[in-house]
C-alpha cells in the first residue's frame, strides 16, 4: 500500500508548477486571439523559470516520497535544473518559427512543458513504474512535437518513425520490467537492487531483463545500434524541437541509466559492463564516422549527438562514482552547447526556407559575422577544444575512465574526437573560407528573432566562459550523484 501524505506534495512543486503552466497554456491557446498566442511563450518561460526557482528552493531535499515511488535528492535536483534549461532553450528558440511554419498553434509550448515534466519524473523515479510513466509522458509529447508542422511531409515522417520505434522501445522496457517483477516480486528500484545483490535469481532471466531495460534506455539516448530513428527524426522535426529533443530526452535517458543501473543492478555490473563498453565504442564510431558523410548540417548534428551519447556511455563503464559525476557534468556542457548549435540554425532561418545544408553556411563569416562566430564556438565546443565547455566535459569523462582503469577506452574516445573534428571543421570552412552561394530555400535576410538570439547568445557566453564557473559546476555535479 502506497502511503500518500498530502504535505509531501510540496517536494513536487517544480512539476506542479510546470503542470499548471502547461495546462494553462493549452487552455488559453484556444481562448486567446491568434495574434496574442506568441505571448503564451512568455507564460511558458515564466513557468519554467518558476519551476527552476522552486527546484532551487528544494535543493537541500533528500527525501523519499509515497513509499519511495518518488525520490527528491540532489541527483533529481540536478536534472531538474538541466530540464528547465532545456525547456527554456526550446521555448525561446520556437517563438518565431512556430508563427511562420507551425500554424501558430500554441499547444506546442504546453507539450514542451509536459515533456519536461516527464523527464523530471524519470529522474526522480524510485520505482520502475514511475520510470515508465515519465518515459511515456515525455515520449508522447515528443511524438506530437516532432510532427507538429502538419503540412510538412518530413515532419510527419519524423513523427511516425519516432512513434513506431519509440513505442517498440517502451514495449521492450515493459517486457524487461515484467521479467524483473517476476524474478524479484517488486518494481521498486532499491528492492530490485537488494534482490539482485542477494543472489539466487536465474541468471539468464536476469541478464535478459537487464538487457531489455538497457535497450529501452539506449534507444532514448540514441546509442548504436538503437539509433536508427535519430537522423530522420532530428532532420524532419521542427528545428527548435530538434534542439530540445537532442538534449532533454538524452539527459533523461542517462538519468534513468544511472539511477537504475547503479542502484538496481550494481551486483550485475560484470554482466552489463561489457555491453556498456561495446555500446559506447559502437556509438562513438558509427555516430562520428557517418557524420562525416553528411551534407546537411542538421543531419550532421544528429549524428554528432549520437557520437556524444557514445562518449557519455564511457562514464557508465566501470560503474564508478567519478564516472557518474562525469556523466552529469558532461550532460550539462552538452546541453548548453547543443542548444546553441541548433539555435544557430533557428536564428538563421528565413521567412521561407530553413538553413540546413553546408552550402547555406557558405560565407556566413562575411554575411552574418556574429552568427558565424557563435557557430564556431559551439562547433569547437562539440569537438572538445578548450577553453570551450565541451572540452571540460570530455576531460572529466576521460579522467574518470582512466581512474576506473579503462585507459584504452579513453584513447578510443579521444581519437574519435579527433575524427569528429573533421566534420565540424567543414562547417567552419564553409563559413569562413567559402564565398556565399545564397540560401537554398529562399533569399533574404534571417527573420528577426530576438528571443532565440538571446538564448543563443547566453549559450555562447556560457560555452566560452565555463572555465570560470568550472569549480562550482564540478562541485554541483559531484554532490549530485545517485545513490550507489
Amino acid at each position: 500500500m502506497i502511503q500518500f501524505n498530502t504535505g509531501d506534495l510540496v517536494w513536487l512543486l517544480p512539476e506542479i508548477i510546470l503542470f499548471v503552466t502547461a495546462s494553462a497554456v493549452v487552455l488559453m491557446s484556444v481562448i486567446v486571439r491568434p495574434q496574442a498566442r506568441p505571448g503564451l511563450a512568455a507564460l511558458a518561460v515564466i513557468g519554467a523559470l518558476a519551476a527552476g526557482w522552486a527546484a532551487y528552493g528544494l535543493r537541500d531535499g533528500n527525501v523519499e516520497l509515497f513509499s519511495r515511488m518518488v525520490i527528491v535528492d540532489p541527483f533529481a535536483t540536478y536534472f531538474r535544473y538541466l530540464f528547465v534549461l532545456a525547456v527554456l532553450g526550446g521555448v525561446l528558440l520556437s517563438v518565431r518559427t512556430l508563427e511562420t511554419e507551425g500554424g501558430n498553434r500554441s499547444e506546442y509550448y504546453g507539450l514542451m512543458l509536459f515533456a519536461a515534466i516527464g523527464m523530471m519524473v524519470m529522474a526522480e523515479a524510485g520505482d520502475l513504474l514511475m520510470v515508465y510513466i515519465g518515459l511515456e509522458l515525455m515520449s508522447l509529447s515528443l511524438y506530437v512535437l516532432a510532427g507538429f508542422y502538419r503540412r510538412e511531409t518530413r515532419s510527419n515522417e519524423a513523427a511516425i518513425k519516432y512513434f513506431i520505434l519509440g513505442t517498440l522501445a517502451s514495449g521492450v522496457f515493459v517486457y524487461g520490467l515484467s521479467l524483473l517483477y517476476g524474478l524479484t516480486g517488486t518494481t521498486s528500484i532499491r528492492a530490485i537492487g537488494e534482490a539482485v545483490a542477494a543472489g539466487g535469481l536465474s541468471r539468464p532471466a536476469l541478464v535478459l531483463a537487464v538487457a531489455m531495460v538497457g535497450t529501452a534506455f539506449a534507444f532514448k539516448v540514441s546509442a548504436v545500434p538503437f539509433h536508427m530513428w535519430t537522423p530522420d527524426v532530428y532532420e524532419g522535426a521542427p528545428t527548435p524541437v530538434t534542439a530540445f529533443m537532442s538534449v532533454g530526452p538524452k539527459a533523461a535517458g542517462f538519468a534513468v541509466f544511472l539511477r537504475v543501473f547503479l542502484e538496481a543492478f550494481p551486483a550485475a555490473q560484470p554482466d552489463w559492463n561489457n555491453f556498456a563498453i561495446v555500446l559506447s565504442i559502437l556509438t562513438m564510431a558509427v555516430g562520428n564516422v557517418i557524420a562525416i558523410a553528411q551534407t546537411s548540417v542538421k543531419r550532421m548534428l544528429a549524428y554528432s549527438s549520437i557520437g556524444h551519447a557514445g562518449y557519455i556511455l564511457i562514464g557508465l563503464v566501470g560503474g564508478t562514482a567519478a564516472g557518474a559525476g562525469a556523466v552529469l557534468f558532461y550532460l550539462l556542457m552538452y546541453t548548453i552547447t547543443n542548444l546553441g548549435a541548433f539555435g544557430i540554425l533557428v536564428v538563421l532561418q528565413r521567412e521561407k526556407g530553413r538553413v540546413e545544408t553546408l552550402d547555406d553556411f557558405a560565407g556566413l563569416g562575411k554575411t552574418h559575422p556574429a552568427a558565424a562566430l557563435g557557430m564556431l564556438v559551439f562547433l569547437f565546443s562539440l569537438t572538445g577544444i578548450p577553453p570551450m565547455a565541451g572540452f571540460f566535459g570530455k576531460f572529466y569523462l576521460f579522467t574518470a575512465a582512466v581512474q576506473a582503469g579503462y585507459v584504452w577506452l579513453a584513447v578510443v574516445g579521444v581519437l574519435m574526437s579527433a575524427v569528429s573534428a573533421f566534420y565540424y571543421l567543414r562547417v567552419v570552412l564553409a563559413m569562413y573560407m567559402q564565398e556565399p552561394v545564397g540560401i537554398g530555400g529562399g533569399a533574404g535576410e534571417p527573420m528577426p528573432q530576438p528571443r532565440a538570439v538571446l538564448a543563443v547568445t547566453i549559450a555562447a557566453f556560457l560555452t566560452v566562459g565555463i572555465g570560470i564557473l568550472l569549480n562550482p559546476l564540478l562541485s554541483l555535479a559531484a554532490a549530485s550523484l545517485p545513490k550507489m
Partner: protein
C-alpha cells in the same frame, strides 16, 4: 599577493582581442590598437626578463590560484630560464607580425588581429603554465586562431593546409591529454607540474606516457615522418602566420620535451633517445635534401625548418649539457632567423605576388637594402660564425659528438647542405642577370618594413657575437634538468617491462 606580471602579460593580448571583437573600430584603428597591445605585452615581457634572476633554478614569478580543486586542477603560472626566453621571443615576433600585416592583410582585418592576439595569449600561456591542464588548455587554444589564420588569409591552397594542420596537431594532442590524465592518476592526483616533477613514475607509466606526449610534441616540432603538415601550413599561411608558426609554434614541441618528457620520464627518455636521434638525423639530412629541390621560396624556407628543427631535437636527445643548451639556443635563433626570412619573403611577395624563385633574379640591383637584410639572415641561417645561427648549431654538434661520433658527423652534413641550398637560392633570387624586366622597378623596403626587420637583425648579430646573456639565463635551469636526470640514474626500459597486459 605579488604583482601578477605573468598573467598580465598573457592576458593583455586577449583583452585587446575581446575589445576589437566587440567594439567595431575602423581598420586603421584596429591596426593601431593591435600594435599598441602587442607592444604593451612586449614591454611587460622585457620588464619580466629584467627582473628574472638567472641564478635561481626554480620557477619564478609563480602565481597560484584555486581553479577546480575537486579535479586537482590549479591555475598556476611561472617561468624558468628556458621559458622566459620564449616569452620574449613570442612578444617580439607578435609585434613584428602586426607590423608586417599592416598592408598585407586586406580582408577581415578585425578578425585577423583578433586571431593574432588570441594566438599570442595562448602561446604565452603555453610557456608559463605550470599546471598540466592549464598547459593543455593553452596548447589547444592555439589551434583555433592558427587554423583560421591559415584558412582565411592564406594562399591558394589554404583550406587543404589549414585542415591538415588542424587534424595532425589535434590527433597528436589528444593522446597527450590521455597521458596527462594517466600522470594525474599515478602521480598523486595532481596536475601541478612542480609536484609531478618530484614523482618517480613506474617503468610502464613512463614508457606509455612518454609515447603519448611524444605524439603531441613530435607533430608540433615537427619530426620526420610527421612533418608533412609543416611545408603546407608554412607555405599557405599569411606572412604573420608563417612567422608565428616558424618562430614560436613549432618550438613548443621541443619546449614540451624539455619541460615534461626529459625530467618526468628519464628512463623512457633513455630508452627512446637513440631512436629519436635517428629520426632527428633523418630530419636534418632528408629535410635538407628536399629543400634543395624546392622552387617555391616559402616552401624552401619551410623545408629548411624541418632540417633546422632536426638539430633542436638532436641536441636535446643527445642528453648532455652542450646538446641541450645548444638545442635551446637553436630554437631561439631559428625563431629569429626563420621569422625574419618569412618576413622577407612576405615583403617581396606583396610587391610581385610570386613566390617562385624563377620569378626573381638580379633584384639586388633594384632593392639593395632588402638584399642586405636578405643576405644577413641567409648567412645567419647557414651558421656563419659571428651570427646567431652558428652558436646553437655549434653547441648541438658538440653535444652530438660527445654522444656519438657518427651522429656528429652525419649532423655536420646538414650544415653543409644548408649552405648549398641557401646560397644557391640567394644567388638565384638576388644576383645573376635580371631576367624579369618588371623587377627593375621594384620598390625597396620602406621605413615600416625597415623597422620590422631591424630588431631581428640586431638580435641576430648580438646573439652571434655575444650569446652569453641568453645562455646565462638558461644555465641554472639546464643544470637542474641535468641533475634531475642524473639523480634518477636513467635505466633503459625493456619491452617486457612496459607491456601492460
Amino acid at each position: 599577493m605579488k604583482f601578477p606580471i605573468l598573467s598580465l602579460t598573457t592576458y593583455i593580448p586577449l583583452v585587446g582581442a575581446l575589445y576589437l571583437l566587440f567594439m567595431k573600430e575602423h581598420e586603421g584603428m584596429v591596426r593601431r590598437l593591435s600594435l599598441a597591445v602587442s607592444l604593451a605585452a612586449f614591454a611587460l615581457s622585457v620588464l619580466m626578463l629584467g627582473h628574472f634572476d638567472p641564478k635561481t633554478s626554480g620557477f619564478q614569478f609563480v602565481e597560484t590560484l584555486e581553479w577546480a580543486p575537486s579535479l586537482g586542477v590549479t591555475y598556476k603560472m611561472g617561468v624558468d630560464g628556458v621559458s622566459v626566453l620564449f616569452i620574449v621571443l613570442t612578444t617580439v615576433l607578435t609585434v613584428l607580425s602586426v607590423l608586417v600585416s599592416w598592408t598585407q592583410v586586406k580582408k577581415y582585418v578585425r578578425e585577423f588581429h583578433v586571431a593574432l592576439l588570441v594566438m599570442e595569449s595562448a602561446m604565452l600561456g603555453v610557456f608559463s603554465a605550470l599546471d598540466l591542464v592549464l598547459f593543455y588548455v593553452f596548447w589547444e587554444v592555439m589551434l583555433i586562431p592558427m587554423f583560421l589564420m591559415i584558412g582565411i588569409w592564406g594562399g591558394p591552397n589554404r583550406i587543404y593546409a589549414a585542415v591538415k594542420f588542424f587534424l595532425y596537431t589535434l590527433a597528436g594532442s589528444v593522446l597527450m591529454l590521455i597521458g596527462i590524465i594517466v600522470l594525474y592518476v599515478h602521480g598523486g592526483k595532481t596536475f601541478d607540474v612542480a609536484a609531478l616533477l618530484q614523482v618517480k613514475f613506474a617503468a610502464p607509466v613512463q614508457f606509455w606516457v612518454f609515447l603519448a606526449f611524444f605524439a603531441a610534441f613530435a607533430v608540433k616540432v615537427p619530426m620526420w615522418p610527421v612533418h608533412t603538415w609543416l611545408p603546407d601550413a608554412h607555405t599557405e599561411a599569411p606572412t604573420a602566420g608563417s612567422v608565428i608558426l616558424a618562430g614560436v609554434l613549432i618550438k613548443m614541441g621541443a619546449y614540451g620535451f624539455l619541460r615534461f618528457s626529459l625530467p618526468m620520464f628519464p628512463d623512457a627518455t633513455a630508452t627512446f633517445a637513440p631512436y629519436i636521434l635517428a629520426l632527428s638525423l633523418v630530419a636534418i639530412i632528408y629535410g635538407a635534401l628536399v629543400t634543395l629541390v624546392q622552387t617555391d621560396l616559402k616552401k624552401l624556407i619551410a623545408y629548411s625548418s624541418v632540417s633546422h628543427m632536426g638539430f633542436v631535437t638532436l641536441g636535446i636527445f643527445a642528453l648532455n649539457r652542450q646538446g641541450i643548451e645548444g638545442g635551446i639556443m637553436q630554437m631561439v635563433n631559428h625563431g629569429i632567423i626563420t621569422g625574419a626570412l618569412f618576413l622577407l619573403v612576405g615583403i617581396i611577395y606583396e610587391r610581385t605576388h610570386s613566390r617562385e624563385i624563377s620569378a626573381y633574379g638580379g633584384i639586388a640591383r633594384s632593392v639593395p637594402r632588402y638584399a642586405a637584410f636578405f643576405v644577413l639572415f641567409v648567412l645567419a641561417s647557414l651558421g656563419l660564425p659571428g651570427l646567431n645561427g652558428f652558436v646553437g648549431e655549434f653547441l648541438v654538434i658538440l653535444g652530438a659528438f660527445q654522444r656519438d661520433r657518427v651522429v656528429g658527423v652525419l649532423a655536420m652534413t646538414g650544415i653543409i647542405l644548408a649552405a648549398v641550398y641557401l646560397l644557391w637560392m640567394t644567388q638565384r633570387v638576388l644576383f645573376q642577370e635580371m631576367t624579369h624586366p618588371e623587377n627593375e622597378k621594384l620598390a625597396d623596403i620602406d621605413t615600416r618594413e625597415f623597422i620590422t626587420l631591424l630588431p631581428l637583425a640586431v638580435l641576430s648579430v648580438f646573439l652571434g657575437v655575444y650569446p652569453n646573456p641568453a645562455l646565462s639565463v638558461m644555465h641554472a635551469s639546464v643544470d637542474q634538468l641535468m641533475a634531475k636526470m642524473e639523480a634518477h640514474r636513467a635505466a633503459v626500459i625493456s619491452w617486457s617491462q612496459a607491456w601492460p597486459f
